[in-house]
């Protein structure tokens, strides 16, 4: 057998990366198979653990888990699993929030506040549960975020003064310049032509130019929030320079899609995976497997050639409907790699409700698992002895309504990775 590892993880999103890292740290040789970029690029980059149960906002997720329904993944991994998942994120990133069990409230680009457990340090000075006055800055061509509108909504609820302004971005960037272009200009601190006095233009480093443009609007604000486009490679430096020039703290409001905080988080995980010796193969889908009750290999299809990746333990981390780990057609819902059972009403008109934010059945589509996180067939028995499932591919919870997506990915990933590795090392 040419390509062989102990633990093979199928899917390279947050859950897959957490699984791979946890199994590798536990001493296994790990292969991470990832088809495409993950949904981290769509998401805020925040680590939400549990923000709402029903219509109740949650300030301490750990005290609230017991209120969740029995089929909820958190009931499988328990409080310890969640804490281990958070410990992993704390070891991979320099996210803030680990000093307390309580959720923080972070302003969203929609003008609301959202409870979250861990947040990038670029977001930390912006907490809505902090009482310093704030100024939000938007840009005319970053069309998702209307800072004055968001500020007006925030001002109705938060315990501080908040204003918003809309500025033109710097220089003569084209209207349809991508956010990565703007981030790159700040990363590199490119020199930007700005209109000087009279008709003379001068060239100024981008970060300085941005700070100078904001400064006249500062007023009494003690902190300034920008959409999360302040650099991809060097966000620390970008934020520090602008903050220094403005004389107040600078923070980012998570955006997406596309999401620079998500991309940065992904990059941090990639470094950690490399350091942990995880062997990553990307770019092609897992389409099939070998074995019956026990999986011996998964088959990667590479431009119509089939390449087997062998292993002892396998973990399914392909995501949900958005990540395409769960697929559907007019007649039903399925998990396409191992064809694990996905409970769903037969009639597709029972998959949704009439209001856009109602309690949709589709939001909870996914595989059901036992306490070992092994997917169960329709009779309630494990589909395979050596397959576990983590993250978005799991059913029984609505991450969007609960604000629990990253928390579940991390907790189930860490637990499944450790358990799989333990079985290898038995």
């Amino acid at each position: 057998m040419a390509i062989e590892d102990d633990v093979v993880v199928v899917g390279g999103g947050l859950a897959g990366m957490a699984t791979a890292l946890s199994a590798a740290q536990d001493g296994s040789r790990v292969r991470l198979l990832s088809h495409k970029e993950s949904t981290l690029r769509f998401a805020s980059g925040l680590i939400d653990v549990l923000g709402y149960v029903g219509s109740e906002i949650v300030s301490n997720p750990f005290e609230t888990i017991s209120q969740l329904p029995d089929e909820h993944p958190y009931r499988r991994v328990g409080e310890d699993g969640i804490r281990d998942g958070l410990a992993l994120i704390d070891s991979v990133t320099d996210y803030a929030g680990g000093h307390t069990d309580r959720n923080a409230l972070v302003p969203t680009f929609g003008g609301t506040v959202k409870p979250t457990a861990r947040y990038p340090k670029h977001t930390a000075p912006g907490l809505a549960s902090d009482e310093r006055d704030a100024l939000l800055v938007g840009f005319e061509t970053v069309v998702d975020f209307d800072a004055p509108l968001a500020a007006e909504h925030l001002a109705e609820t938060v315990p501080f003064d908040v204003r918003g302004i809309t500025l033109q971005f710097l220089g003569d960037f084209r209207t349809d310049a991508r956010v990565t272009r703007l981030a790159h200009a700040l990363d590199e601190n490119e020199r930007i032509e700005v209109g000087g006095r009279g008709s003379v233009s001068e060239s100024v480093p981008a970060r300085i130019a941005l700070a100078e443009r904001v400064k006249p609007h500062l007023g009494d604000a003690e902190r300034v929030g920008f959409p999360a486009i302040l650099g991809e490679e060097h966000p620390d430096e970008v934020r520090a320079t602008i903050g220094r020039k403005l004389g107040v703290e600078v923070f980012e409001i998570p955006m997406g899609t596309p999401s620079l905080p998500g991309m940065r988080l992904e990059a941090e995980f990639e470094t950690a995976l490399r350091e942990a010796g995880v062997r990553t193969t990307t770019g092609n889908p897992v389409v099939d497997f070998e074995g019956t009750d026990e999986i011996s290999a998964v088959i990667v299809e590479r431009n119509s050639a089939r390449i087997p990746f062998h292993g002892e333990q396998f973990v399914l981390a392909t995501g949900g409907l958005v990540g395409k780990g769960i697929d559907s057609d007019r007649s039903g819902v399925r998990e396409p790699v191992f064809d694990c059972h996905v409970p769903a009403p037969e009639n597709r008109y029972d998959w949704f409700e009439d209001g856009a934010f109602d309690d949709h059945r589709f939001a909870r589509f996914g595989v059901r698992v036992d306490d070992e996180l092994r997917p169960l067939d329709s009779a309630g028995s494990p589909e395979f002895h050596n397959l576990r499932a983590v993250g978005g591919v799991l059913g029984g919870y609505d991450f969007a309504a609960e604000k629990s997506g990253s928390g579940i990915s991390l907790a189930t990933g860490v637990v499944a990775g450790r358990n799989a590795s333990d079985e290898v090392n038995l």
Partner: protein, 556 residues
């Protein structure tokens, strides 16, 4: 008693706006009231076919003849609403030869240019057609945007002095003895442009003459006036595909039947339809089997449809009518002709005429006849000019532009914007500030949204039908909030939020019927973006105890 308008038209669909324009151009003082948006009723819920008449060439030659005449007129006066795609009546192996011949003969008898295509020619024109094509008849069918057409009619009526009130539902018909003297309406947000922040008001609008152009709702209005109008509403489903699989209208050449037409409409293709009688034009079941039937049946004509992405479905209700005592049971047998019901002749009630039945393609001719009738009643001697004068946006206009130099936008975006705006393009797109694209699926820029907001107040659905923003494959997931942002700061935050919620829910309503495969994935992404990243589903934010949450570690 003071008169507010010479003529009051009820109904902001194609007929109503057509009448308003016609009368206003003849110098009549007109007010039009519509309970929802323009096109709220049947007009906004049709498949966008500009009939050549071929469809009726066998069953109803009078309608067919009228269609081809109006088809030619609309190409002239509404050029920015019409895309002359051409159409085919496709015969598959096994379909009846006689019917094909009859159709061909019928077209020629009605003056509809018709040409027989071999299977190869038909498939060269439309490569996705099935290999089972036997032959086809090419006819001058086209696609027409009903929203743009009605908006242009209403706008032109306003230019000629008419008052147009949308979101103004008629709550009563004012009758003085045996004379209709006006209506009472409830303005959802007061008179004038819609504003979510304003509360509703009622208004009595007195008029010399009232025209009931409320289509499928004509019976309900009749009831308020105490007359009986036997409208036989019949629903039909339309399934919207993500992109155009065909560039010509493809009809299945067989005697009447369900699921026999595919219309390329703007960036999409629309599959239609069914014909099922319903009791209430507003409340009727929207069913799974209807959607499935469109896909299953029409993929026999165009096989790629089977696995193509559907983005939503909608239902329309035909305002069919038949004179009392006709006794037709199958709605497909009810005539598509229109009827002018003069209630003075019919019910001894003066001051009111209803118009029922009819087809979108011939709306202008219907409006002309009604307007003639009304003018006769009022003693006005104006001549109808609607067949000669182009609608706003449809003046002579060349689309050969350098979009980047002229408008600062990429060529496909410029091309689509100009196709929508017609001769208004310069006026709308020549702006000073940055003009980013807000709706990426349909290539709608900030300037075009701004222009539509100027026309529509805070009603984002009215902005949508003017621009197509949020009507593409993401169904607004990526752009609804961007559209709403444009209302601010002219409108305050709660108003903007209401407007956004209303649009978002409207988009969801149609998308529900396409929730499998790629569109379910899209819906899940939209849901995640709005509920997670923006937390727009947050319950009761006022009740948050901020002190109970992590305040961060700054200053420690």
């Amino acid at each position: 008693m003071a008169i507010d308008a010479e003529v009051l038209v009820v109904g902001g669909g194609s007929t109503g706006t057509g009448i308003a324009r016609d009368l206003a151009m003849r110098g009549v003082d007109v007010t039009l009231v519509e309970k929802g948006n323009l096109t709220h009723g049947t007009t906004g819920r049709m498949h966008g076919l500009l009939h050549s008449g071929g469809r009726y060439a066998v069953s109803d030659q009078a309608s067919a003849t009228e269609c081809i005449e109006e088809n030619r007129i609309l190409r002239d006066i509404a050029s920015h609403c019409v895309e002359m795609t051409g159409g085919q009546f496709v015969q598959l192996e096994g379909d009846d030869d006689d019917y094909f011949e009859e159709k061909l003969r019928g077209c020629r008898e009605c003056g509809i240019p018709a040409e027989v295509l071999t299977a190869k020619e038909a498939r060269e024109q439309e490569p996705y057609l099935t290999e089972d094509v036997k032959r086809a008849i090419a006819v001058p069918d086209g696609a027409i945007d009903p929203f743009r057409l009605c908006v242009a009619n209403a706008a032109d009526a306003e230019i000629h002095g008419a008052r147009i009130e949308t979101h103004a539902e008629v709550t009563d018909v004012l009758v003085d003895g045996t004379d209709v003297v006006g209506v009472e309406v409830r303005h959802e947000s007061g008179p004038g442009k819609r504003n979510h922040a304003k509360s509703g008001t009622t208004e009595k609008i007195r008029a010399e003459y009232v025209v009931n152009a409320s289509g499928a709702w004509a019976g309900q209005l009749g009831e308020m006036a105490g007359v009986d109008i036997e409208v036989r509403p019949s629903k039909g489903v339309m399934v919207v595909m993500n992109c155009r699989q065909v560039d010509t209208v493809v009809n299945h050449c067989r005697p009447k039947g369900d699921a026999d037409i595919i219309v390329p409409h703007e960036t999409t293709a629309i599959l239609g339809t069914t014909d099922e009688e319903v009791d209430d034009p507003e409340n009727y079941p929207e069913e799974e089997w209807e959607v499935d039937m469109m896909i299953d049946e029409l993929s026999k004509l165009v096989p790629i449809l089977r696995d193509s992405r559907t983005i939503r479905s909608f239902w329309g209700v035909r305002p069919l009518y038949e004179p009392p005592g006709t006794g037709t049971t199958d709605p497909t047998d009810i005539t598509r002709d229109f009827f002018l019901l003069d209630h003075e002749e019919r019910d001894d009630l003066t001051g009111l005429t209803s118009i029922v039945g009819g087809k979108f393609t011939t709306y202008r001719a219907m409006a002309e006849q009604i307007s003639d009738h009304v003018c006769e009643q009022l003693g006005v001697r104006g001549r109808c000019r609607t067949a000669d004068e182009p609608l706003p946006g449809s003046d002579d206009f060349t689309v050969l532009r350098d979009y980047m130099d002229d408008f600062g936008i990429r060529s496909p975006i410029g091309r689509r914007s100009v196709q929508r705006l017609g001769s208004r393009a310069d006026e709308v797109l020549m702006t000073d500030g940055p003009n980013p694209v807000l709706c990426e699926c349909e290539a709608v820029t900030r300037a075009e949204i701004g222009d539509a907001i100027d026309q529509s107040g805070t009603d984002l659905n009215a902005v949508r039908i003017r621009t197509r923003a949020s009507m593409g494959n993401c169904q607004g997931g990526i752009c609804c909030h961007r559209m709403a942002n444009e209302l601010h700061p002219k409108h305050d935050e709660p108003t903007v939020r209401d407007a956004l919620d209303e649009l978002f829910q409207e988009r969801w309503k149609g998308e529900r019927h396409a929730l499998w495969g790629e569109q379910l994935s899209q819906a899940a992404l939209n849901y995640a973006l709005h509920a997670t990243t923006m937390n727009r589903d947050a319950p009761d934010e006022d009740a948050i105890d901020f002190a109970a949450f992590d305040g961060g570690q700054h200053g420690d």
